[in-house]
Structures are given as structure tokens and as C-alpha cells.
Amino acid sequence: MANGSIRPDEVTDILRRELGDFDTEAEEYEAGTVLQAGDGIATLYGMSNAQASELVEFPEQDVEGMVLNLEEDSVGVILFGDVDSVSEGDEARRTGRIASVGVNENMLGRVIDPLGRPLDGEGPIEGEKTVLPLERKAPGVIYRQPVEEPLQTGIKAVDSMIPIGRGQRELVIGDRQTGKTAVLVDTIINQKKTHEEQSDAGDPVYCVYVAVGQKDSTVAQVQRDLERNGAMEHTVIINASASMPTPLQYIAPFAGACIGEYFRDTGRDSLVCFDDLSKQAVAYRELSLLLRRPPGREAYPGDIFYLHSRLLERAAKIIDDQKVAGQMNDLPYALQDQVEGGGSLTALPVIETQAGDVSAYIPTNVISITDGQVYLETDLFNAGIRPAIDVGTSVSRVGGSAQVGAMKDVASTLRIDLSQYRELEAFAKFGSDLDPSTQRQLNRGERLVEILKQDQFSPVPVEEQVAIIFAAINGYLDDVEVDDVGEFEEEYVERLRLQHGDVLAEIRETEELTDHAEEVFETVAEDLSEVYAEDEEEDQEDVLAGGDGETAMA
């Protein structure tokens, strides 16, 4: 393919070599017979030594499956691949292998299916692969370390108030069409900085985006967005789209965790986005019901909680101590001599709610499993507040310690100010006579909301976030028209970049907000705010003049 044409004699040569190496040995295997097949599952008779989650092959149909149910005299198997080709009476063979994915670095930039096969038409994935089991126990307590290093999402509202640390599990939850995927994509794009040479943004973060039960068009869109923003080089997309067999949708998040773990256990940082787990839960419900497992609440099987908890438990920050990390529990054989401490796996699972109902079964489950949630709201989205993050109900349970000092300094009061504003906002709707202090708070709140707005695909570096929030918190925006806040922000950051690049760089490197930096921010913000305030006065004068004229005429 690479050099145009293949000469026939070359082919003959290869075939002859293969034939020479071919030794005729009898195969020995354990077989079973299909009793019943359909809807992505098959029941096998025989194969009494099969293990749970072992791979089974159907040689005639060239289909593989995974053992899910071990019953007294039958084995329940979920089928990957061409599900309809398997029928009653077919032969199935044990492979002796546990369902697993081969992982290597060449997967970065590729779109693959949950079994690691390429889907993007760019040819096979080259290189030797480390074969990792889909189901693997999470590292135990002694192999972990508290989450301390930040994972910058580049989203102002998240980094300032719901900080995410490397090794954390942060749920992104919200109705359809509230921008959940946008949060993930922006976060992945923001990791691009970490891959640049001589970057101060921390160790490189390798990203995995797992699409479960989504439209292929959506996945193609995500791929394009990532490519356009230069983020595809450090990202693997696993696609188990809505049209793929249910068993693949069920294992897709596990495959994603596998790839994340490969980076985690080789001492690197990884980010795995599961988009979304509600669809995986639905896929698992389907399989469970077909396998005749008893249904529970909302017809989900009894182990649906364990399904998500064991998956998300695999997010971890591994201990820095090389000796301890090397003894990690349940290490796959293939990884044994590659282990390095200090790696992490950050999980960003997504849950789609129905009409904002977070008290449904799956949302409550996953909320309780994760270390916090980013809650996206339709009303905010429609009001033009994007990302539509509801600050009141969004939390990060461990992220606080993973925030850089400078951000902690400026953002500490942000959350309180905003929630007070929300409270007042509700009251203010009833009457217009408000005392000046209330008026001031409302004013401030409106501007805070304004600065937290952000366009898609435009992550903001942490030092700039600090600068912007500093200005807003300290009231330099109070005299600026709400509509002009965006413009002010742009100009303010631009000036800082041009005139005070050293200050920004210092914050980035030291992660601290010095008095000098504060002074610089103050002067720039003051200057600008005067300019905007003057504009405003002029505008007002115009209006007044116009008004006077009219009254005079009347």
C-alpha cells in the first residue's frame, strides 16, 4: 500500500516463507455448542471450565464473545461483532484469554472500537501492544496518594470554583443539550499545552474520549473539533456508537479505563472522559435482562452500582514511591516491568438527566461514587450563560487541595458572592426599591456571571483566569456596563500579555500571587475601567441630551 504496488514475486516469497514455518500440529481446545442466540447474547451448552469474562470464539462466524454468566449447565456469552451470524448449533471455543485490549502509544490520534480495532480508516495500529484486561481491580489504598496536582480544564467557572485534581473523578451531569460534551472537549483541548515542549503547564496529560451509544455524526464532530484545535495528537477516541452491538457499548468504558491505566501505571497522567455512562447503564440493563438476571429499580440489574463504582474506582493518583508502586495489586503481566510511580488517571464521567431530575437512579448512584459534580442547567444555557454551570449545586470534594495558590487567593470568595447574588436576584424581581448595598451586590453579581462566560474551544490559561477574577472580585468591573464586560476582559488580558508578560509567567511558574502582581493587575484594571466608565458617561449624556430635546419639543 505504502509504495504503490506489490510485485507478485514478493507475495509468493512471503507465502512461501509462511508455508515453510507452518507446522502441522493438532489443535486442542474446549468446545461448546450454541443453545440459543440473539440480541447480542448466546447461551452455550458445555464448555464447563470457562471462566468469567473469558473470551470465546465462534470460528465459523469469525465472531468473538465474552463469558458473562456461568450457570449450572450453560454459559451466557455476550457477542462482539456480527451478532446475527451466530445461530443455534454453532460451535464455540474457549480461547483461555481474558477479555482484554492491546494498548500502545500509537493509538494516540486514532479512533478505535472498544476492542482496539481502528475505525478511522488510517490502517492498522502499528507497534507492539501491551495487553491489558478490561476488568481489572483498582489499585489499593497503599498504592495511592492524595490528589494534589491540578488538572486545568481551561474553563473559568470550573477551575475557579470546582477545581479538578489529577486522579479525581468529577461527574459532568445535565440534561441533553446543555453542553456536557463541550466541557469535556474543552478540557481535552486545554491539555494541549501540557504536551508542548518546555511548558509550565505541568506533566503531559494523555486523553481518552469514550463515546458510548452516541451518534456516529457526533463522534465525527468531536474528532474534527479536536483535530482543528490540535488536541487529537494526545487523544484516543473510543467509539461504541448507537449502531454497534450492545455488548461493545457495555465494555467501551472499561476499554477506556484500560488505556488510561496504561498511561497511569507507566508514570504518566491521563484523562478519561466517559460520554456517557447513562447509555452504558442502559446497554448493561439490556444485556442483563436478556441474560435473565433479575431486574431491580427502573429495571436495572442489582449490580448496576458496582458496574459504575468499579469502573470509576480505577481513577487514581499512584504513589510517587517507585518501590511501592512496583508492587501494585492486580498488575497485569504485560505491565510488570513497565510500572512507574506518580502517574494518575482522572475520570470525567458524564450522566444525562431527564428534565433536570438528578434524583433518578443512575444519577444518584454516580453522584455518590464520584468526588463531585459539574451540574449543567438548561435554564442557564438558554439564558446565554455558557458554560451553563450551576455553581450552587456543583462541587468538587477533593479539588480544593489541587488548586494553585494564586487561584485559591482570588477565587475564595467567588462562590459566596455568586450564591448571594442568586439569592438577591430572586428577591429583586419583586420590587425595584433596593438599598444601595443590595444594588451593589446585584451589580457585582451580574459582572461575575459575565466574566465566567466563555466561548467553546477557547480555554483560558490559569494565570489569565486569576487576573480576570482578581479584577472582578475587587470591583474594577463595577463601573463597566454588563454588555461591555466581555470586551473589557479581552482588552485587559491583551494588555497584560503585551505589557506584563513577565507577571503572568511568574504566576504560571510559582503558582503564587505576589503583591507586585496584584499591583500590576490593579493599575491595568483601574486604567481600563476608567476608559469604560467614561464611555458609559458619554453614552448616558447622549441619552440625557436626547431626552431633554424631546421634552423641550413637547
Binding site: M1, A2, N3, I6, E27, Y29, E30, A31, G46, E72
Partner: protein, 190 residues
């Protein structure tokens, strides 16, 4: 309850009772005879399988038919099956009893598929090889299937030993295909 559970329970009960009363050998013979009869005699198998014949009638027929032919325990056992409405499973229960006894005596069934009929000599060699390999007495069941082209396939329980020409050709086919694929991917090996 799955059919297997039921048959196993009845078969075990029959075995234990026979063992306790020391008539195991007689029962083994009777079971063999009954199995053969049911297999060869359609009337008999329909008699057991039919739900139309009333219980009392089945009971009487059984007594008439078998009183002088089999051990009393077997007769009692069959009457019990009738009483418990399990006589439709008679064949399966007897089969289960047989495999239970085989297991105890270390006998395994080997289903051998060959391309061409085996000579007695080959048969002997095969039997010996299989007995050595499994460490058990082997009962051969031989079938012919020209599709194999050559060689043979032996199936003992769930284990399959596939030494047929067909499967080796398949393996070679896969090997060629993979070699061709990887050559294509690497841009011909040179």
C-alpha cells in the same frame, strides 16, 4: 428447574439406592437394556413420552411388562417416575445414570470423526493413544465425514482434539491472510 437438575437428582437417587441394597450390577444391566429398548422401540419411547395415557394405566402396563424382566428396584423406580409425573424424562434419567456410572468406573465416551473408515489396526492404535492420554477406559463412537479431507477429530466431553486436514488448511489460510495483511501494512517487506 432445569431438566439437567431433575435428571441428575433421580439418577443419583437410583444409584444410591442400588448401591445400598447391593444390586448395583443388576441395575446397571437393566438400565443398559432399557436404554437400548427405548432407543430401538418407538412404541416404548412413545409410551413413556405420551401425556395422554393416564397414570394408572401406565403403572399397570409397566408392571405387566417388566415384572419378570428387571430387578424389582428398577420397576419401583419407574413407577415412582410415573407417580411423580417425570416418566417423560425416563430416557434422560437413564442416560444420566449411565454417565454417572461411567464416571465412577473411569470410562469416557470419545466421539471420533474420520474422513475415511478406520482399519481395525488404526482403531486399536487410536484407542490405545486415547486411553494413554486420558488415563481412562475409552468407549469409541466413530463417525465418517468426508468433509474433513483427512485426519480425524476426537471429542471427549468438552475437549476437542482436531487433527483434521480441513482445520489445518483453515489455519494455513488464516496465516497467509495475516501475513499478506501485515506485509501490506508495512509496505511490502524487502
Amino acid at each position: 428447574m432445569s431438566q439437567r437438575t431433575v435428571t441428575r437428582r433421580y439418577a443419583t437417587a437410583l444409584y444410591q439406592e442400588a448401591d445400598a441394597s447391593g444390586v448395583l450390577e443388576a441395575i446397571d444391566e437393566d438400565v443398559l437394556m432399557l436404554r437400548n429398548s427405548i432407543e430401538s422401540n418407538r412404541e416404548l419411547s412413545r409410551f413413556f413420552g405420551s401425556p395422554v395415557i393416564p397414570q394408572e394405566k401406565k403403572d399397570t402396563i409397566l408392571q405387566e411388562l417388566l415384572r419378570d424382566r428387571v430387578a424389582p428396584l428398577i420397576l419401583q423406580f419407574l413407577r415412582l417416575l410415573v407417580e411423580k409425573d417425570r416418566e417423560t424424562l425416563t430416557k434422560e434419567i437413564l442416560d444420566e445414570y449411565q454417565s454417572l456410572r461411567d464416571e465412577q468406573r473411569g470410562i469416557v465416551d470419545a466421539r471420533v470423526t474420520v474422513a475415511q473408515a478406520l482399519t481395525d489396526e488404526d482403531r486399536e492404535v487410536l484407542l490405545e493413544a486415547l486411553e494413554e492420554r486420558t488415563g481412562k477406559d475409552v468407549r469409541l463412537h466413530i463417525e465418517e465425514d468426508p468433509d474433513l479431507i483427512g485426519g480425524l477429530v476426537v471429542r471427549i466431553g468438552d475437549r476437542v482434539f482436531d487433527g483434521s486436514v480441513r482445520s489445518q488448511l483453515n489455519a494455513l489460510h488464516d496465516r497467509f491472510r495475516n501475513a499478506a495483511l501485515s506485509a501490506e501494512a508495512n509496505g511490502t517487506a524487502d
